[in-house]
Every structure is written in structure tokens, then in C-alpha cells.
Symmetry: C2
Subunit: 196 residues, 2 copies
Amino acid sequence: MSDNNSLNALIEGLRRLPGVGVKSASRMAFHLLQHDRAGAQLLAQALQQATTQIRHCTRCHTFTEKEVCDTCTDPRRDAAKLCVVETPADQAALERTAAYQGLYFVLMGKLSPLDGIGPKDIGLSKLFERATDGVVQEVILATNFTAEGEATAHVIAEALKARGLKVTRLARGVPAGSELEYVDLGTIAHALVDRR
Amino acid sequence: MSDNNSLNALIEGLRRLPGVGVKSASRMAFHLLQHDRAGAQLLAQALQQATTQIRHCTRCHTFTEKEVCDTCTDPRRDAAKLCVVETPADQAALERTAAYQGLYFVLMGKLSPLDGIGPKDIGLSKLFERATDGVVQEVILATNFTAEGEATAHVIAEALKARGLKVTRLARGVPAGSELEYVDLGTIAHALVDRR
């Protein structure tokens, strides 16, 4: 389709989405043009709006349209607790449990030396500054239980303990509703060690 | 993220893409905002541009930015041959073979009574008019070899044969490079019947 620059540009644009190759991008482009031009317009406006409006909260680094996000400014939140998560999606998962009333710090990534992501890229010095403001009593590490998430948690824990803060990690154990027979060995071993 | 209307709007917008659920949409939104805002801007412009510029060729129904597409106006094309395909992607696949020099008619869909897609939705009367212009000698049916594609081909073939046109169908047979042992029975049976 050599004469179709707009279509080619659209397919190229859709390929910028993570996990979308040229076949998926073509399928998406054809779908939008043939069946959902209103959706395409909506998406264009949403992208425009989001890229101009959304920035990082100056206190917790999460996405927000304000200087400081609503969670950070909420007076009902327990400012003595600070939960460290990798992404806003992780933060949202914790919020959905309604089991946590403290504040957050969102790393917006994880330490990953192989990808060239070091302490600076995930704002660790900012986190250390934030955690040692005198109000925070406990830092709860809720990075993912992957190799990189664990390494990130380890680095943060060491640095904050050296600064005299109480540092905890989300409990590892058997997921709710599961049968032991089908749970992997590593998880059962951790659940045994961390028994209470 | 109750305070984040732009982010929620972006996630909703991305969910309009086919095959994208709320988890994928969130992941895409976070990726664009965190790592590729330029890509997001590019995609927004491409969507805007495509929805305003791209329309259907009045001769063959494919996507184009002109009244009549470049393929239809190309004088080197053999106007005696008309190839009927379901989508512009199918047309592109045929073009890549460089084995066809005729013109196209793009249905932009297929007959699918269960989804409420009838002859009107895929422009069959338009196709019959186009195929009986006196120049077209042969109509090559290149709809997909699925149940719906076959049914669509059958309906078109019956109608065009009744109008005295030569109607052919893409050959069914063993794919290039494959070993008979691993080819499904239906394909081998078809290859036997259509042997030459």
C-alpha cells in the first residue's frame, strides 16, 4: 500500500505499543478504520491529553495530574508507613485490597543492571530522602517477587536499615485458596520458614 | 487512581483496540507514559491523520487517501482480471507475491449471518456492478479458506456465473515446503482432487 502514508503511519504508531508487532498493528489499524473510527478519535484525544497532563507526583513518583497526588495529600492516610512498589499498577493492586492505609513510593521500575537500569533511574536517593523525613517509621517493601524485584528490595532494605529505619517485606507464602499439593516447592519452603 | 482522569481515559481508549483488555491497556499506558511519550504523541497524530484522511477507494473499496486508489488507476495493471479479497491485509499479501498484475475488489469483510453481516455490508451489489463493466473477463476469488470465506466465495461465484463471467478460485493444495506426512487430511484430499 505504497500510496497510503496515513495508514502506514498509523501502523508504525501502533507498533510503538509494547507487545504489538507489525501483524497486530495492521489488524488494529484495519479494525479502527473499518469498525471504530470514533474509538480511534477517542484514543487520539486520550493520548494527547495524557502526554500533556500526566506527570509524576513530587512526593511518591506515581502518575498524577497534580503537583502532589491525592494519595499523598490525603490526611486520613497513615504517614508513618511507606510502601515501596515498582509500578502504579502494583500500587493499584495494593489499593484494591483496602488492607493498607499508609503512603506509597513508586519506583517506576526496578534495578536491572543488564538493562542498564541503576539506582538513579528508579530514584533511590529520592526514596531515601523521603523515607528519612522523620515522619516515616516503617518502610514496607512490596516490589515483585522476581529476581530483579528481590534484588531491588535487598538494596533498599540494606540502605534504609543503615539509616535506622524499620524495614519489612510483604510475606511470602501459600496463596489464598490454593491446595498444598499444587503449590511449587519454593513457595512451600518459604511458607515453612516464615510460619507464624 | 481516582484522581487520574487522563490516565483512566487513556486506558479506556487503548481498550478500544481489538484484543486489548484492561490489563494490557494499563501496561501499554504505563509504558507510553514512562518510557515513550514521543511514541504516544506520534500515535495520537497518526490516529488523527488516519481517521480524517483515509477513506474507501470508490472502485475497489480498499483504504486510500484519494478518490480512486493508486492500484485502480495504474495503467500497467491488467483490467481484465479482478481479484476479490476480504481485507486490505489480504490484498497486501497477494501484492507481496508479485504474481498478480490485475485489479482488486476488497470486500472489507465476509458474509457472516451469525454476526449479522449480510451482502449489503460487504458491498456485493457494488462488486457485481464493478465485475460486469464489460472490461473484466475473469474474477478470481481469493477470500479466506475458512467456513465464512468459502461461503462468501460461493455466493459471489454463483451470482457472477449467472451473469456470464469466468469465475476462478485460488488453488487449494499442499503448502510450498511442506512434507505430506505432516499435512492435514483435508488439504491432501483437496490436492488430490485438484491435481494437474
